[in-house]
């Protein structure tokens, strides 16, 4: 310390006076950049096309959409937990690992933004890409409405459930991508974690568990699963507990992301 007194130039006029920038503004700036990043590379296009192709294939070819003679999208949504299992980690794997690989994380986190704004901004951007792909399945809704009289309330609930499900998977992918600069590692880790969330409540697995574990234990495990909550919403019941489940998975994983990022920076 050479200067004992506070230098006269301590107070500085900067173009962005404190308080002028809202945190929402920062989040939106980051989200905008990330979304344009997805569309500047083939990632978004490849994802959307493959999602639509696979969704169509499973709905029409595997599930015999037409032969069932029902005007509903149950067979469309039933595949989403499996479809998202690979596609969502593929979209989310670059979220933080790319920042770490390029070193841009150092730029981003030394800007006047909080880590939370960056985490939420990036998460929203990837979610928007997923929601966009899902929205492009609207011809299915038109088709069933043309062919019969479906319960559109259930269809809306189905879409809400699907959006929440993709958000939950995506938050897991965000978390694993913060762990490593290697996108492949990030992808595999998040697929495994998402698979666990599916299998924990998937009837073939729970049926197996019942044989040797206490029923309360099986129930506790399956409460962690996305399946029970996703199925409940697919039935057209928007129960606050199911909504709370997905929201808590997202909040928990994003919180863990912030912890991982901070730990990584602290060295």
């Amino acid at each position: 310390m050479t200067a004992d007194t506070i230098p006269a130039d301590t107070v500085v006029n900067v173009p962005d006076a404190p308080g002028k920038r809202s945190s929402l503004g920062n989040i939106l700036t980051i989200t905008k950049r990330e979304v344009s990043g997805y569309f500047a590379s083939p990632v978004a296009y490849v994802f959307i096309v493959i999602f639509l192709l696979l969704a169509g294939f499973f709905t029409f070819m595997v599930s015999d959409f037409f032969d069932r003679g029902q005007a509903s999208l149950v067979m469309f949504f039933a595949w989403h937990p499996w479809l998202y299992l690979f596609l969502v980690p593929a979209v989310g794997m670059r979220m933080w690992s790319e920042e770490r690989r390029l070193g841009t994380i150092e730029l981003l986190l030394t800007m006047p933004v909080t880590p939370w704004q960056a985490i939420v901004g990036k998460f929203l951007a990837s979610w928007i890409v997923l929601i966009l792909a899902l929205a492009l399945t609207f011809p299915l809704v038109i088709t069933v409405n043309y062919l019969g009289n479906p319960d559109n309330g259930i269809i809306v609930a189905g879409y809400v459930g699907s959006v929440l499900l993709s958000g939950a998977y995506l938050s897991i992918a965000a978390m694993t991508s913060a762990m490593t600069r290697n996108q492949v590692v990030s992808f595999i880790l998040s697929v495994v974690l998402c698979l666990f969330l599916i299998l924990a409540g998937w009837p073939p697995v729970t049926d197996l568990l019942v044989h040797w574990a206490n029923p309360w234990f099986v129930q506790a495990i399956s409460a962690f699963s996305v399946m029970a909550h996703f199925d409940a919403i697919q039935k057209g019941v928007l129960d606050s507990r199911d909504l709370l489940y997905f929201i808590s998975v997202i909040v928990f994983c994003l919180f863990t992301t912030s912890v991982i990022l901070r730990t990584h920076r602290a060295g």
Binding site: T29, E106, L107, T110
Partner: protein, 318 residues
């Protein structure tokens, strides 16, 4: 503007930065020197708030970087090591993004971007994606990002690394100009750069400050400082040698070449500058030796740097 107090960073058991303190005022350019792995980048990352210190404080413009990070970060422009940028964006898109995060909107944003595009000569690549740019342009794009909000404090980690000589010159000129109004810290391996740009230099080694002063002060530490180098066109080497080593204000003599004789004479004390040179001049006049060259050495930074940071292999006094 920048106050660093007892800053320490430990990675596990290893102390990367060990109890560093210094201040930089507005109008000062501080050169940060040190061998690779000395802790330069770690120190800069702590000053910019990228990594938290293990102990100690950083205060930028009155704001503590840990307690008031957003207010402090607003004042700082930062060029990280290797000048990272989003490779999938165009130069304009990237600068717009930086300007928005810095709080610019609408016409203000356009003006801010145009200003740095002009300063960093990016006009020709504005619509190219960063991916397709040469290293020099990438570097300048990231540099442009760091000055987009005309920050009061500028932290530059190896700003001239990987640039060609012309680009190096441009960047140095820019730093010198901006240094009149800002507080700047920059790290470098290139010692001429320190002399060309800095008002003060700090040498750190193994996480500790080992020298701190103006470039001229640091050069004074060189064993060469104050020595007189002289070259003659004629004269008998043997008698020259004996007469030169008998000079009253000289201590040691090194013969650089014989016939024609060139020699370096080291002074007894550093205080009397010019005394030794004057004495040599008088001697030459008496003996009728023709002087081709005569100058007093200022000392060399690279020698100081080596002596300080590599004590065990320091050059022997010849």
């Amino acid at each position: 503007m920048i106050e660093v107090q007892n800053l320490t960073k430990a990675f596990g058991a290893k102390l990367a930065v060990n109890d560093i303190s210094f201040t930089v005022q507005r109008g000062q350019v501080l050169g940060f020197l040190g061998p690779n792995g000395a802790g330069k980048t770690t120190t800069m990352r702590m000053i910019t708030g990228f990594i938290p210190p293990t102990a100690g404080d950083v205060v930028v413009g009155g704001f503590n970087i840990e307690r008031d990070p957003i207010a402090a970060k607003r004042l700082i422009g930062y060029l990280p090591e290797n000048a990272p940028s989003y490779t999938d964006m165009t130069v304009r898109g990237f600068l717009n993004f930086a300007a928005e995060l810095r709080g610019f909107r609408g016409a203000e944003k356009t003006r801010a971007v145009e200003r740095v595009v002009e300063m960093c000569f990016l006009g020709s690549v504005l619509h190219q994606s960063v991916e397709t740019l040469s290293k020099g342009f990438r570097h300048r794009t990231c540099f442009a990002q760091s000055i987009i909000h005309d920050p009061a404090v500028l932290i530059l980690d190896e700003p001239t690394d990987g640039l060609d000589p012309n680009q190096k010159h441009e960047v140095r000129t820019l730093i010198r100009q901006m240094g009149e109004k800002k507080a700047i810290i920059f790290s470098t391996h290139i010692l001429e750069e320190v002399e060309a740009v800095c008002s003060r230099a700090i040498i750190i080694d193994s996480g500790k400050i080992v020298a701190n002063g103006t470039p001229a002060e640091l050069k004074q530490k060189s064993t060469l400082a104050g020595a007189v180098t002289v070259r003659f066109a004629n004269g008998d080497p043997a008698s020259m040698k004996s007469k030169l080593s008998a000079l009253s204000s000289g201590e040691r003599l090194t013969i650089l070449s014989e016939a024609p004789t060139a020699a370096r004479i080291y002074p007894k004390n550093n205080g009397a500058r010019g005394e030794l040179a004057a004495e040599i001049g008088q001697l030459a006049a008496r003996e009728n030796w023709q002087i081709e060259e005569l100058h007093t050495e200022e000392g060399r930074l690279d020698e100081v740097f080596r002596t300080i940071t590599l004590p065990e292999t320091a050059p022997r006094k010849s």
